[in-house]
Symmetry: C2
Subunit: 155 residues, 2 copies
DNA sequence: ATCAAAGTTGACTAAATTACTCGGGTATGG
DNA sequence: CCATACCCGAGTAATTTAGTCAACTTTGAT
């Protein structure tokens, strides 16, 4: 599980797709101008997102991309994983005597840790991210205080 | 909060320090050979770890590094943060009209997400990793969190 | 005092990743 | 047919990661 700006770009773009869904496919040009990400870079990212079955593409005029599943069924973890090369956790290949030593132990510990973070991000969907934002916006607009439990995702 | 191999190196080295503590300072040469990380790279990492007050250094023969605090009081998050440049979350500087648009909002959402992961890793100490107790602990915390979330956000 | 062990620092470099560009393709609605 | 928009691969600049090298400082031990 790798967390860098690359994953953020992907999540941002997917959020954009989710936010502007409902009127057919969305072109990468729109996403590009709205989110200020270069078109060609988006193409690379969406190539991976498509191969990961997270989006569907429609070619030709009027085409674009749309989420393959509802935003409530796409997790942040999936998006981040789709665009990242898997982090290599097997550095111990070279060193022969790495059976039960400290080396493999810490590697294993790290992968377990990494796995826990994956589990964590698997529990957060695009919808939850958007929803939280909606709640906050409405709360500000109506000057209304929601129960704390309503805004549980990111606080 | 950035997660890459660099953070893993730092965590691994700190775990090594924790595991072999008790007999005075530990030289980076030992850590280097045990964990198969280049000495000079370790020096760079420990320079940052020292500035972050996570380790103490002892110069001269018989010197080396030791944890500044007990391993039960050093979190993974601290270690990772110490060696990572802060992830730049303010890409929207250039674009003027970025007050309440999608752009800044998704940036904000990402930083909050990143913050959540920080909170998550803050709850895991070196000691827990060594005792391998962190899996259960985290699992408990997550179950708790997800239960509440599921009840409130999903029906 | 001298020596050797070790941290300290800075400059430098190679490799990898990230972010982006370019130049072509291909499918398709109008 | 043609403009639109995805598709694809090569290339490239910027940044980060990982490591090297060389000089220096501190300090325990002889």
């Amino acid at each position: 599980m790798k967390l860098s700006t690359k994953g953020r770009y992907a999540v941002t773009a997917m959020l954009d797709l989710a936010l502007h869904s409902g009127n057919g496919p969305i072109t990468l040009a729109e996403v590009s101008s709205r989110q200020d990400i270069s078109l060609s870079y988006l193409e690379q990212l969406f190539s991976k997102l498509r191969k990961a079955s997270l989006v569907d593409s429609v070619r030709g005029p009027g085409g674009g991309y749309e989420l393959k599943r509802p935003s409530s069924q796409i997790s942040i973890a999936e998006v981040v994983l789709a665009v990242n090369e898997p982090i290599s956790a097997t550095k111990c290949n070279g060193k022969g005597g790495c059976q039960d030593g400290d080396l493999c132990l810490s590697h294993q510990l790290w992968t377990e840790l990494s796995d826990q973070i994956y589990q964590f991000l698997s529990g957060i969907t695009l919808e939850q991210v958007i929803q939280r934002r909606f709640v906050q916006k409405v709360a500000e607009r109506q000057n209304h205080r929601f129960r704390e439990e309503d805004v549980i995702l990111f606080s």
